[in-house]
Amino acid sequence: MEYKAPVEAYTGVVREITIGKGNKSLKIGGENILPLHFFDEGSNPNPAKFALEILDMKPEDWPAHAVEPFKDVISDPISWAKKCQGFAVDAVSLFLVSTDPAVKNAPADKAAALAKEVGEAIDVPLIVYGSGDEKKDVEVLSKVAEACDGMNLLIGPVLKENYEAVGKAILDHGHTAIAQSPLDINLLKELNVKLSKFFPPDRIVIDPLSSALGYGMEYSYSLIERVKQIGIMTKDSMTMMPIIANLGAECWKTKQAKENKEQGLLWEGITALSLLLAGANILVLRHPETLSLIKETMEVK
């Protein structure tokens, strides 16, 4: 008897989300198959996208081999962002670390003006992450949203503690939100449910928190995998959002990545590939050589 491979068809569809405006925009999500299950019925119209990270201040704890590709622009976020484009990125992710009260407590206005300048200087969409300080971010991200009105940035993290204020600013000024929860699928869903009460779910991207290889990556992997399964297989509306894996900083924090360059590239590369396999739709990396390594790997047939 001839063997016929089973073909699955699912009812859930990850929402297709557009970031950026006009010719500076990109689409993520939209798949109705599990990650890389191209043998099943359905498709993934938007293969994974990649962003490189830039900081709003000269990094203090990066090893020399991570600074190296940007050493001439590392103190100037705008030039840094432009330089990222030379590495064929799909987006640039600006981290407003200097606004953190525990770092420089830089003012929100300044951060917002910088976000606008960066956004206007590049030809790809901009992702903006606040410092993660739940109180300061209300001010910082609201100002960013306002200054960049209508640019449809991808802005986060929107947290359980500040989703009402931050979500409202993102919504009012026409941006897309990154809803972040601490590695817990129940909390992740809860935040999406609460945010969706006033915020359109087709403008939410999930950040489940991405841990590095050897530092809890398997938790991020399982979580991303499960979010996809529940969204696509059980059609749970509150998990059918694209996922952002913000992993660069986590990987380059590790002892192994700091020790030497090749190890760092592999650390970041393996983490990125793993989370890609789990179903991440957009990945934020630090090192441009990791990006080329991954693209090379993905093209191997």
């Binding site: 699928i185 129940n186 869903k189 449910v193 059980t234 749970d236």
Partner: protein
């Protein structure tokens, strides 16, 4: 459904203090309230008990027996306290609980035989909590066989699959489904045994105002699958109405949800919508979050 009233337990600070200070009124009021609310047993959860074990236990049992005719469930991990409690009971008590742990087999189970009482036996073993239906069944069959050898018949054994919080990230819903399955097949595997659960643990970690709803719906679901009894809160009027057959339409609605029937939520009252949504979470059909009623 046999309801074992859970309200006298040392986890509550007031009870713990009342026991330590031998304040009979607080204890007796709770015993009376539970009796009037329709409980079938009164559980006396005294925790591990470190000192004056026998004396405190005797006092507690006789204090409660002064105001209620209900049989008691003696709830302690301390075999000395257990024996003192069982000895003081006028009605045939429930030993709560024994397990498949070696220490329990050696020290608790023989007491059930010695005092000719009913006994709760949990699926716990020396290796911990068996997580799946198969491993729970395997463990309980071993322990029940051991109990039978001691002369305890199946009819005196109340099996406890151990309920865990449904809100446990990633795994809680699987636990809830496993217990439903376990209760469903228990009668086929061990004919004649009864069953019980510590119901309120299913809602541990959930916002307080939402806990009773999970407890109520889960009890109805377990009841449908054949659950014999539950350690639960008899002062929850809605819970008692549901299990005493006073709300047949709502019970039927929960059954239909369990059967996967398409239910038109727009035709239901708000409370009924909540029953349906809660049942779906407990049967693993919808991903749990603390906002499960809001989506």
């Amino acid at each position: 459904m046999v309801i074992i009233g859970e309200n006298i337990h040392v986890i509550a600070q007031a009870i713990s203090t009342a026991i330590r200070e031998k304040n009979a009124k607080i204890i007796q009021d709770l015993a009376k309230e539970q009796t009037e609310a329709g409980a079938d047993y009164i559980d006396l959860n005294v925790g591990p008990m470190k000192k004056d074990t026998e004396e405190i236990m005797q006092w507690l049992v006789s204090t409660v027996q002064e105001v209620t005719d209900l049989p008691l469930s003696i709830d302690t991990m301390n075999p000395v306290a257990m024996e003192a409690g069982l000895k003081a009971c006028q009605k045939r008590p429930l030993l709560n609980s024994a397990s498949g742990k070696t220490s329990s087999k050696e020290q608790m189970l023989p007491l059930a035989q010695k005092y000719n009482c009913d006994v709760v036996i949990s699926v716990m073993t020396d290796k911990g909590m068996p997580p799946e239906v198969d491993s729970k069944i395997e463990s309980i069959m071993d322990t029940v066989a051991h109990a039978n050898e001691l002369g305890i018949p199946n009819e005196d054994i109340w099996v406890d699959p151990i309920i865990l919080p449904v809100s446990t990230a990633g795994e809680g819903q699987r636990f809830a489904v496993v217990c439903l399955e376990f209760i469903k097949i228990l009668e086929d595997v061990l004919p004649g045994v009864k069953s019980t659960v510590g119901l309120s643990n299913v809602s541990n970690g959930v916002p307080n105002e939402l806990r009773p709803l999970l407890n109520r719906v889960y009890l109805v679901m377990l009841g449908r699958n054949g659950l014999y009894s539950a350690i639960a809160d008899p002062l929850d009027k809605e819970l008692m109405s549901l299990v005493k057959g006073e709300m047949p339409n709502d019970v039927e609605l929960i059954y239909k949800t369990m059967d996967g029937e398409d239910i038109d939520l727009s035709a239901l009252s708000q409370k009924q919508v909540e029953y349906v949504k809660t049942a779906k979470v407990l049967m693993g059909a919808n991903l749990y979050s603390d906002a499960w009623l809001e989506s």
